[in-house]
């Protein structure tokens, strides 16, 4: 019983909680750098969620080795792992872009505070 609660927590509610922490940060933070961090936290939540969907109890890494010839192991689902790998690469590129953009905004307006930027723009 306790075990089931723990696994649900770590596989479903945990990643979703991390995602919501990121979303909360994105909605409440006024600093552009902190917003970039929030987006990253959100991405981590989603990536963890996908990885945990591919989890198979006491399975092995889905790699075909010599050992497979002698016994038939249970493999974890490799597809979510492949998806997450792609998602991580994309999120790295987007983070780099956001940070570059923040540098540009800072050099043009002299601040990274969203409230002040909003006042300047209007």
């Amino acid at each position: 019983m306790g075990h089931e609660w723990l696994s649900l927590w770590s596989f479903l509610y945990g990643p979703l909680a991390i995602f919501l922490v990121g979303l909360y940060g994105l909605l409440t933070q006024k600093n552009l750098i902190k917003m970039a961090i929030s987006i990253n936290i959100m991405d981590y939540g989603v990536n963890l969620f996908i990885i945990s969907l591919g989890y198979v109890p006491s399975a092995e890494a889905p790699i075909y080795t010599e050992a497979v010839k002698t016994y038939l192991p249970v493999f974890a689902d490799p597809l979510p792992q492949a998806l997450v790998l792609t998602a991580i690469v994309i999120s790295v590129a987007v983070t780099a872009f956001i940070l570059a953009l923040t540098i540009k905004i800072h050099s043009q307006y002299g601040t990274t505070d969203l409230t002040k930027l909003g006042e300047m723009e209007l």
Partner: protein, 480 residues
């Protein structure tokens, strides 16, 4: 024959985009021709593909992997017309960039961004795989971020990046959950296995997908970036946002809804219908108040996205696709892509920002004024222009299927739209300019770009049956 493979529409621009940095170190002068080459190739290849395609959807399995395990591309002559409209406007925008805006920013980054965006947009339209759609969505979005900063509009771009990142996180989550529940990433197979799942799960997944795609398709709730980005983007950039990205993203929404959620999920379609109508009303109301021209077109673009999605949702509502309504929505999508591109290119060529500044500019630049008017009149739905027919078909089909509330909202929105676009035309021809600045010179080559679009719009306006016959029956052709 090799030209029959639709994957070339994605692969060739992708390859050319990555060749740009290589070329730039050997033949610097050649870089500017590469995006034109990519766009030109795609237009010709699409025309060839359409001429050989039949009305039914052909599934191309990439690398020989079966649909269940690999990526598949969907193509039919009807999808081809959407691709043709998207690629043609992209080619004209690239021409415009090459002729007028090459000195605006880095001579390397923007050709790469335009070429990548072209590849991604075609991928979004054709792919039959959910995760592949995510990758193409991100590819177009990142190219879009670069295009959005072309005129140093950093704040609008920041908003775009944030909203689109939220959208992509939601899309990823929905895709993973759907894969976990059905075991497929392929849209057709996932859609078929969806029936066994609980209704709350299906509605949560569908809401996640719609929200995720809403940022690029310019629908509520994630479309807050549209107006600032349009306002601050370059001429070619605004055409990419209004015609290429939103056209591709709208078609992606339609595809996901039709293939994955195409069966009898009335609650999903009802929700989408309401979302579309709210977007339509909010977009028109916001456009009505604008004095900045590009922002006005931006909000009108949001409204049109809402209209098209609402019409598609209405067509799917009864569980069996209403072919007439669906074709009318698709026709409206194509007309919108062409007319928006024409109006935005015209505004960019005038180089003026607001309704007051533009006063009388149409009398000083007669041809430009005539071409912009063709685009505007088509958007309003004046007889003799392409937009008239799609709106007429929409009203006819809506009344025919007894959707009177939708018809009422649509007609009221069209009235609003006619008012603010006619105000624009009045200012263009009869107003007095508030700025003494002289209008920039337009070369005859650039004028030809606008002529092509205007001629196409008028041509469709006089022979709408050719287009409507070509795009109708998309739903009857098998997979879609």
């Amino acid at each position: 024959m090799i030209m029959q493979n639709p994957v070339l529409l994605i692969a060739v621009p992708l390859l050319l985009a990555f060749l740009i940095p290589v070329f730039s170190s050997f033949f610097k002068g050649a870089v500017r021709f590469i995006p034109v080459l990519a766009g030109g190739f795609n237009v010709i290849a699409t025309a060839l593909l359409i001429s050989r395609a039949s009305g039914s959807v052909t599934v191309t399995e990439i690398g020989g992997w079966a649909s269940a395990y690999g990526i598949s591309l969907l193509f039919s002559s009807q999808i081809g017309y959407v691709i043709l409209a998207v690629n043609l406007t992209a080619l004209l925008a690239i021409f415009y960039y090459t002729l007028n805006e090459r000195d605006l920013g880095s001579p390397l980054a923007y050709p790469i961004a335009f070429t990548l965006a072209l590849s991604g947009a075609n991928g979004m339209i054709m792919t039959g795989d959910l995760f592949n759609l995510f990758v193409f969505m991100e590819m177009t979005a990142i190219a879009g971020y670069i295009i959005a900063v072309h005129k140093k509009g950093y704040l609008g771009t920041f908003r775009f990046v944030v909203l689109s990142s939220v959208g992509s996180a939601l899309f990823l989550m929905a895709t993973a959950a759907l894969y976990n529940a059905t075991g497929f990433l392929n849209m057709t197979l996932a859609g078929k296995s969806l029936g066994a799942l609980a209704a709350p799960f299906i509605s949560i997944i569908s809401v996640l997908f719609i929200m995720a795609l809403s940022s690029e398709a310019e629908l509520l709730p994630l479309n807050g970036w549209v107006a600032p980005v349009y306002k601050e983007s370059s001429g070619a950039g605004s055409v990419f946002f209004a015609s290429v990205f939103s056209g591709a993203a709208l078609f992606a929404v339609i595809k996901v809804m039709l293939i994955v959620f195409g069966n009898n999920y009335a609650y999903v379609h009802q929700g989408l219908l309401v979302l579309g109508l709210v977007t339509l009303a909010a977009g028109e109301a916001a456009a009505f108040k604008q004095s900045n021209l590009k922002k006005m077109v931006a909000y009108s673009s949001i409204a049109q996205s809402g209209l098209i999605i609402a019409a598609v949702a209405a067509a799917m509502r009864s569980g069996v696709l209403h072919n007439g309504l669906f074709s009318a929505a698709l026709f409206q999508l194509i007309n919108n892509i062409l007319a928006k591109a024409l109006v935005l290119l015209g505004i960019a060529l005038l180089g003026l920002a607001t309704l007051k500044e533009i006063g009388g500019a149409g009398t000083r630049k007669k041809w430009l004024g005539v071409f912009i008017s063709a685009g505007v009149l088509s958007l309003i739905g004046m007889p003799g222009f392409a937009g008239f027919w799609s709106k007429l078909f929409l009203v006819r089909e809506l009344v025919g299927s007894g959707m009177f509330v939708f018809t009422l909202v649509f007609l009221l929105a069209a009235l609003f739209e006619a008012y603010y676009y006619l105000r624009f035309l009045q200012s263009l021809f009869l107003g007095k300019s508030t700025t003494a600045a002289s209008l920039p010179k337009t070369s005859w080559v650039t004028t030809i770009l606008l002529f092509v679009l205007a001629a196409l719009i008028i041509l469709i306006g006089f022979a709408p049956d050719v287009i409507i016959r070509a795009i109708s029956g998309l739903s009857l052709g098998g997979v879609l």
